[in-house]
């Protein structure tokens, strides 16, 4: 529908709504009857030291087969969050096709387990909970939270699941579930926009790893291919058993060594040999996915970011992203949501893996405001390149980042998840303790330096899903390539 058509419908709707509804009672005056109390006119102060502390005691050791044990002992609650993290079994790390890697991880959990007597057993559960898995850019993790008294049983189930997958029964149900999951994750507008923008900036191979979508690869992967992928991705030397909760390292070692100590890999861990391809400079490009009549446009904007292999840039860039788009009061959210109301809010994601660094911003905008909103986003990146941020703004961002880490350390589950991520990124147990000091050392010019080094506001690829009315306006952003939405 054209702009004038939309305005007409809105006007008529408003007219009908106003004309036929009964009036509400009037509010009473004064609007607030509560008397002013000067003592409460200011917010109470915070105890800064308590707010900012990230205090996690960690213990670790390595088993003779190279597997790491990492424990955060906490006695408050009688449960332990367990996780086996396989570094290298990530979509940007493994030699397997990303679709095969996802199928393999699912088959490890759902494809049965070889038990002590050689029989194949269905996936086992401990108090109704089974092993869950997730495949990320750098690693795959297998998780199982258990009550303290069920720790031996939980470790047995986790060890057998990860070490002795049966890959039984032709894997057909597993394959069907994997295809379904892949369709759900890749068959929507945002995934298509992301894939187009990534392909434009980094090439098709990179986009294929960022948004795995080849269903045929899953259909055709033979059992032998799955076993090979398992053998070269999930091996003890590059894996860790992480336990957070009511357990010490000594207790865990006593239970885990007989279970995980005999785990050996026949194949050597093999990873992608080279880092992900670098950003290709081609000028600003708009990948336009043509939509029917839409009440909102959807936009995906992708910017390069440092990887974990650039540690001096990692933390300044995280602060930069927080200020630009991260917080609810980030510069762009301030402008586009709080001041203009043209979006419900931006959805940023900072991906900082070992071989991939990306700042991804997704948002839905009012159609008529789309082009100006994109301009505003890009201008906010240019501002960060041209001017250092204010000291107060930087301090706020540091507090928020630290607070977020402290928050992730707040529960056993989320801390186990975070420690898994740090292990996969090669960050040792001391990294958390040093975080506060390393953030404190960052100055506004560090942010400006990484903004200049990484951000490419005038030379980037955008994915935009909107209708024909915006065709001409999009060309003011950059060179437009048109695509048809293929969401089936």
């Amino acid at each position: 529908m054209s702009l004038s058509g939309r305005l007409l419908v809105a006007f008529l709707g408003l007219l009908v709504a106003c004309a036929s509804r009964p009036p509400l009672p009037l509010p009473e005056q004064p609007l607030a009857r509560t008397p002013e109390e000067p003592a409460h006119a200011q917010p109470p102060p915070l105890i800064a030291a308590e707010v900012e502390s990230v205090d996690v005691a960690l213990e670790s050791t390595t088993l003779p087969n190279g597997m790491t044990l990492l424990v955060a002992p906490r006695r408050q609650l009688p449960y332990v969050a367990l996780s086996v993290v396989a570094r290298g079994a990530g979509t940007f790390e493994s030699l397997c096709a990303p679709e095969v890697l996802q199928l393999t991880a699912r088959a490890v959990v759902e494809g049965g387990t070889v038990w002590t007597d050689g029989k194949v057993v269905e996936p086992l559960r401990v108090h109704g909970r089974g092993v869950e898995f997730d495949v990320a850019a750098d690693y795959t993790h297998f998780d199982l939270p258990v009550l303290r008294d069920a720790l031996p049983a939980g470790l047995t189930v986790l060890a057998r699941t990860v070490q002795k997958p049966a890959f039984a029964g032709g894997l057909d149900p597993v394959r069907v579930h994997a295809i379904d999951a892949l369709k759900n994750s890749s068959g929507n507008v945002d995934s298509q926009l992301l894939k187009l923008a990534a392909a434009g900036s980094y090439g098709e191979a990179f986009a294929g790893r960022l948004v795995p979508s080849k269903i045929d690869t899953i259909r055709k992967a033979s059992d032998a291919v799955i076993k090979q992928c398992y053998g070269m991705s999930i091996v003890p030397e590059t894996s860790a058993l992480i336990a957070v909760g009511d357990v010490t390292l000594a207790e865990l070692r006593e239970l885990a060594e007989p279970l995980f100590g005999s785990w050996s890999s026949r194949e050597r861990s093999r990873a992608l040999p080279a880092p992900a391809p670098s950003f290709e400079s081609k000028g600003r490009q708009v990948h336009w996915l043509v939509a029917g009549d839409q009440t909102q446009s959807r936009v995906v904007l992708l910017q390069p970011a440092p990887t974990q292999l650039q540690p001096d840039d990692e933390a300044p860039f995280a602060l930069l992203s927080e200020i630009a788009v991260g917080a609810s009061r980030s510069r762009s959210n301030n402008r586009l949501r709080h001041d203009q109301g043209v979006t419900y809010g931006l959805q940023p994601e900072l991906i900082q893996g070992r071989k991939v660094g990306l700042l991804l911003v997704q948002a839905a905008f009012e159609p008529d405001a789309t082009v100006d909103a994109i301009r505003s986003l890009l201008e906010s990146f240019e501002e960060l390149q041209e001017q250092p941020v204010a000291e107060a703004e930087l301090q706020d961002a540091k507090r928020r980042l630290l607070a977020r880490v402290a928050f992730r350390a707040g529960s056993n589950d989320s801390l186990a998840d975070y420690l898994g991520q740090l292990f996969a990124q090669g960050k040792g147990p001391s990294w958390l303790g040093q975080l506060q000091a390393s953030l404190a050392a960052i100055r506004p010019n560090d942010l400006q330096r990484v903004a200049k080094q990484y951000l490419r506001p005038s030379d980037t690829d955008l994915g935009v899903y909107c209708d024909w009315d915006l065709r001409n306006q999009l060309s003011f952003i950059g060179r437009v390539t048109t695509y048809r939405a293929d969401l089936e």
């Binding site: 509400l24 009473e28 449960y79 069920a150 707040g410 529960s411």
Partner: protein, 442 residues
């Protein structure tokens, strides 16, 4: 699970721990009517703060749909002593997070905070309850109308549309729970500043609210802070906004088939209306039913099967009744009728035969594990308290669970229900369309 027979002991041990270590919640009511519940718990690392107003989207006056949601947004636009959005900003900078939600029966403001920021969180909620109307002007109203419009437009995906259709089919178009998005958008555009002011005064007030604090705090320190901040807040003299939201009328099996343009596989959703549990043990029996139904349907249709990719079973407690809902993501070739029959086979078995001792022991273990893990989530406990029960009691209740109570709860599954099937349809160019409906009530 014979391999892990020793786990039977776990249930008892974990419960003993929970009973001895748990600090029970303490409840007080201020003179202005504000209900305050304090639940200190040294086993969690932070504090959850919830302020729950007993007014939600079902309180929207006729032809003013979306009003409760709009007012929830507007209360972030500052107050007498706070600039717009500054409250959320201060919470974020303290290391916490905050949000607000408008449900059919209530509007809730929630924050999870480090212990040191609890007084700040309380001060921000005092500002909202006492002085938010002084921060809401025409400019704020214009902006938040746009933001609400964008929020509603963003969530118009399949799951939201299916949810809305289910509401309309269960309750009928005129019911307070069946507010339509598109109508809501039109109504919201015509809301005036005095409308908003009246709605706030009639709903966001101490005598219509519950304030809950759960987690790492000392009640001796915090009780006086709450009294200082909240006791002076005065209720408006105008009447509170109350409404009736009765249980749905059901006459048998109501079937509805929806088409969606972009749906890849198929979905089947079955909803039962359950009587409101009259006691804590009945509430636990319904929760146990949710677990065994989930396990039974997963075994029947998901694990090792080609029928469904996933199943989720949810309980939604409303003011006068509860909804139990089974959602299945089916594969493209799955047959709706066969899948429904297999779900009903599981439900009928649960209603006709009590689960045996071994199953009951396993079930208790599941529920106790869930209670222990939930204990770490102070916000989840605070929300349960705001809804009228304390989830800390769940482990104790799970231990006392018996098979006949689950069977009694399951008996409700053999009667009336809504069966909603969703499949791909090219004709549904704008979201979902009704392909077929058979409602025995009509």
């Amino acid at each position: 699970m014979p391999r892990f027979a020793k786990l039977r002991l776990v249930v008892t041990l974990a419960c003993l721990w929970l009973l001895t270590a748990a600090a029970r919640a303490e409840e007080l009511r201020l003179d202005n009517g504000l209900r305050v519940v304090l639940a200190p718990d040294a086993s969690v690392n932070n504090v959850a703060l919830v302020v729950s107003y007993e007014a939600g989207s079902a309180n929207d006056p006729a032809r003013y749909r979306g009003m409760a949601h709009l007012v929830e947004h507007l209360t972030f636009r500052g107050s007498r002593h706070l600039r717009a959005e500054r409250g959320s900003d201060m919470i974020e900078a303290s290391g916490g997070g905050s949000n607000a939600f408008t449900y059919p029966d209530r509007t809730q403001y929630v924050a999870v905070l480090p212990r040191a920021a609890l007084p700040l969180g309380l001060w921000i909620e005092r500002e909202r309850m006492a002085f938010a109307l002084e921060g809401i002007d025409q400019n704020a109203l214009d902006l938040e109308r746009k933001i609400v419009r964008n929020e509603v437009a963003e969530r118009k995906g399949l799951s939201w549309r299916t949810y809305m259709q289910r509401q309309r089919s269960l309750y009928g178009l005129q019911h307070a729970y069946a507010s339509e998005d598109d109508a809501q958008l039109n109504d919201v555009q015509a809301v005036t500043l005095p409308d908003v002011q009246w709605f706030f005064q009639s709903s966001h007030r101490p005598d219509n609210a519950t304030l809950v604090v759960v987690g790492a705090f000392d009640p001796q320190e915090i009780r006086p802070v709450i009294e200082r901040y909240f006791a002076p807040i005065q209720n408006p003299t105008l009447a509170r906004n109350t409404r009736e939201a009765p249980a749905p009328k059901q006459c048998g099996v109501h079937r509805l088939e929806l088409g969606h343009q972009y749906l890849q596989g198929r979905m089947l959703s079955m909803t039962w209306t359950l009587q409101q549990p009259s006691s804590a043990s009945e509430r636990m029996a319904v929760r146990a039913l949710r677990h065994v139904l989930d396990g039974g349907v997963s075994d029947e249709l998901v694990r090792g099967s080609f029928e469904a990719a996933s199943v989720s079973v949810a309980l939604d407690h409303r003011q006068t009744h509860s909804l139990l809902q089974v959602d299945l993501n089916l594969h493209e070739q799955s047959d709706f009728e066969k899948v429904e029959a297999r779900v009903m086979k599981v439900a009928t078995e649960l209603a006709s035969t009590a689960i045996d001792d071994a199953e009951l022991t396993t079930l208790r273990g599941e529920l106790v594990t869930e209670a222990v893990l939930a204990r770490e989530n102070a916000l989840q406990r605070a929300l349960s308290i705001a809804r009228g029960y304390d989830s800390i009691e769940d482990a104790e209740l799970a231990n006392a669970l018996d098979a006949p109570s689950i069977q009694r709860a399951a008996a409700q599954l053999t009667g009336h229900r809504l069966v909603l099937a969703v499949r791909h349809s090219d004709a549904a160019s704008d979201g979902t369309e009704i392909l077929k409906e058979d409602d025995p009530c009509r």
